[in-house]
Subunit: 452 residues, 2 copies
């Protein structure tokens, strides 16, 4: 009923590694790009060196990947403005068909010979611990991996990345919060291959701390800590969520028990339709509510942390007001956001209990009693040693709260708050949103450890 | 707008003290009873002395009270059986029209010349700290109060008892859990009168500890501690509830601010009818539920603690199952009990969240995952570092739980449990119970600090 673990891994070693033709094409393209870039640098009479970084530089890329990262390293004597300006000029000259994107500073993205190419300026610092912006670290990573990784281990990294992709934990962007390429490389290096990494990971009892160069100085709260070999104060796994660490452990065990190539292929969900969504929530007996609004025009790495923070803020406030939150999720599709609040309790009594001070604390007790004695409340009466009143509740339904002015006082992400201030809808019949968000509802309503 | 404090108290001094005629009638009756009892004791050739105890012995009784307590004190050499048997024999001979009641041991209750008379056997011990049953202590209390209380202070005690009666905190039975007669006497003694007691009580910030004889050795958790002058290890206020202590403080302040004879008269509630009960709960927007059953045939001091315990057990279990309890109460009328559960949340979703072990704890995690992987649940999926499933909830409504076998597993009082095992009803339309419990519903739905 199950293949042998090594046999499946061997199959994946063939599948997860680019063909000789692919590699040759990439190598030729990279050579040409580096040459062009060096020429532009020379023409501009700036002092800078040019290097390829990233997985295509380290031979740890997957078949079909067509990303080339070219870094232009400038001396530290340049000001930040000079570096940014020179970086953009070079990028646009190398890649005529290009546009600018922005991480910690701007860089140029364009197509070249069928590849997507990033041309990124950075500082040439002496030590990764003294970087001036996050991208300055990348050349150190490339150099370290280049020195450590044999061709055989590079293939193991490819298998591992393919596995991480299949189980939905690959990628360190702030939506996914999975394993970065560099983290994957370090883990394979640490354990000496994909299978030993699986076997170790299956047995991890977090927190787990790895320190390949045995030079870590800082402590971290994260469940997985992998000290950066190029920087003793950095945890390479800082972005990895607890969910994705647990998913890796779960599927490591599953693969070792029942090895199957299927785990290396991501699940594609089919969207479900309005009636399926409606039926599912009816069967659950919960009360779903949706807040929909236009996604703010920010990159995903800015959007998702804001959606997470907003969701937390809203759920916390609803709970505080007595509306029990069962599960939440954030969907983004076609430029719109849907914050899904699945409530276990969406309605409360008209009144709420309000407990006052102990009667024995005379001054406070008197002012509480005097305040409520003539108000239209039940009480004040005495329970245990305190005054209590039962007074009208501000919001009897969760919808009433979300549609009130009080809603926007909740802690929300900055850009999310701006969009909500402009316009949003509260939708009780969430099934009507299935046309746009059918794939997300499918994932939500059939959860499994792949979590996607 | 308000009378002067002293003027009202002076009025009450006249009203709260029995008339000369009443006192003469009582004195004559007590003399006759003691003489008769002594004759019976002499005839039986047992060694015992006879004494009057209680408020009528101490001149701290209220007008209209017609209770006489006669204690027959036997030597400690008698066995418990001999004492009980002799006590009952004497009681029945003194009071031909009588029956037996039971506290720590049996005693005889009967009518004599228009008075209700208790004839109670007890042991004649040397020291109140060495009593063999609670009643042995009473003669010590009577002797102590007799020695300390002037006629003027006895009148203050009467005023105070009348005040406690008016504000609903008088009586140390286990339903009321208020101030006992002895506690009232000690408090008036301690402060030297009713008004000084009010002024002190208005300012108490519990816990408050009084020790008239300055001999207390034990510590107590109670909010009010009054060390028994006849027993250094006993708190006379042990039965007093926090509610009744707080009520006394509340009304002490109110009386001092706005003295009125009305506070010396208990509130009588008019019963409310079915439509009033229904309208009230509709306005509150809560979900009331009633459990009704025949009251077990036990004395009130056994019934009420059991009702309290049962109510606690039921409310705790409902809360644990997600049904938020807003307020509860126990009603007894015409031999029936009504346990009222006013719920804020009476219905939950069909499913409940069930959080499993951390995925990192391999053995537990695996057995959780294997258990649920093939069951009809949502999941297992992973949230934070743990497996989670959403499985069918056992009881979706509070009524379903109360009507299930699981209900009787709740911690209930022994006799209450027996009655529930025999028969009970769960009533959702509680207004239909207004005919029988209309007065109790009136109190429940218009709560105030008098708490009755």
């Amino acid at each position: 009923m199950s293949d042998d673990v090594d046999a499946v891994i061997e199959t994946m070693r063939e599948r997860a590694v680019p063909s000789a033709d692919e590699r040759a094409e990439l190598a030729a393209t990279v050579d040409e790009l580096i040459e062009r870039t060096q020429e532009v640098v020379a023409d501009l009479e700036v002092e800078a060196d040019v290097m390829q970084v990233g997985s295509t530089a380290r031979d740890t890329w997957l078949p079909g990947e067509r990303d080339i990262d070219i870094f232009v390293r400038f001396p530290e004597s340049l000001s930040r403005e000079e570096l940014e300006s020179a970086g953009l000029t070079i990028g646009h000259q190398v890649l005529p068909e290009s546009h600018e994107e922005y991480a910690e500073h701007p860089y140029v993205v364009g197509e070249f010979a069928g590849f997507q190419v990033d041309i990124v300026p950075c500082y040439d610092v002496d030590d990764a611990a003294e970087i001036r912006s996050a991208v300055d670290r990348t050349p150190f990573h490339t150099r370290y991996i280049d020195e450590q990784l044999t061709a055989a281990l590079a293939r193991e990294v490819c298998v591992c990345k393919q596995f991480f992709t299949g189980i939905g934990v690959y990628g360190s962007n702030l939506r996914r919060r999975g394993f970065s390429g560099y983290l994957t490389e370090l883990l394979v290096l640490e354990y000496g291959g994909f299978r030993p990494l699986l076997e170790a990971g299956a047995d991890w009892n977090p927190p787990v701390r790895l320190d390949p160069e045995d030079h870590g100085s800082a402590t971290f709260d994260d469940s997985l800590v992998v000290i950066d070999p190029t920087d003793p104060e950095r945890n390479v796994a800082a972005v990895l969520s607890d969910e994705n660490l647990a998913r890796f452990q779960h599927f490591a065990r599953q693969f070792l028990a029942e090895p199957s190539p299927a785990l290396f292929e991501p699940i594609e969900r089919d969207p479900i339709d309005e009636s399926a969504v409606r039926a599912a929530f009816e069967q659950r007996g919960t009360t779903p509510l949706a807040i929909t609004f236009e996604a703010p025009a920010v990159v995903e790495d800015q959007l998702w942390p804001q959606l997470d923070r907003s969701m937390d803020g809203i759920a916390t406030e609803l709970e505080r007001r007595g509306f029990d939150v069962f599960r939440t999720d954030a969907f983004v599709a076609d430029g719109d956001v849907l914050l899904l609040l699945e409530l276990a309790v969406a309605e409360r009594p008209h009144i709420e209990r309000h407990v006052g001070p102990p009667v024995g604390v005379r001054k406070h007790a008197k002012s509480f009693y005097d305040k409520y004695a003539d108000e239209d409340v039940y009480g004040p009466f005495i329970t245990a040693d305190r005054y209590v009143v039962e007074r009208d509740r501000e919001f009897v339904t969760a919808t009433a709260f979300l549609e009130s002015d009080a809603f926007l006082d909740v802690a929300l992400g900055k850009d999310v708050e701006q969009m909500l201030e402009a316009e949003f809808s509260v939708v009780e019949d969430v099934a009507t949103l299935a046309d746009q968000f059918g794939r997300e509802f499918a994932r939500y309503l059939d959860p499994n450890p792949r979590g996607m």
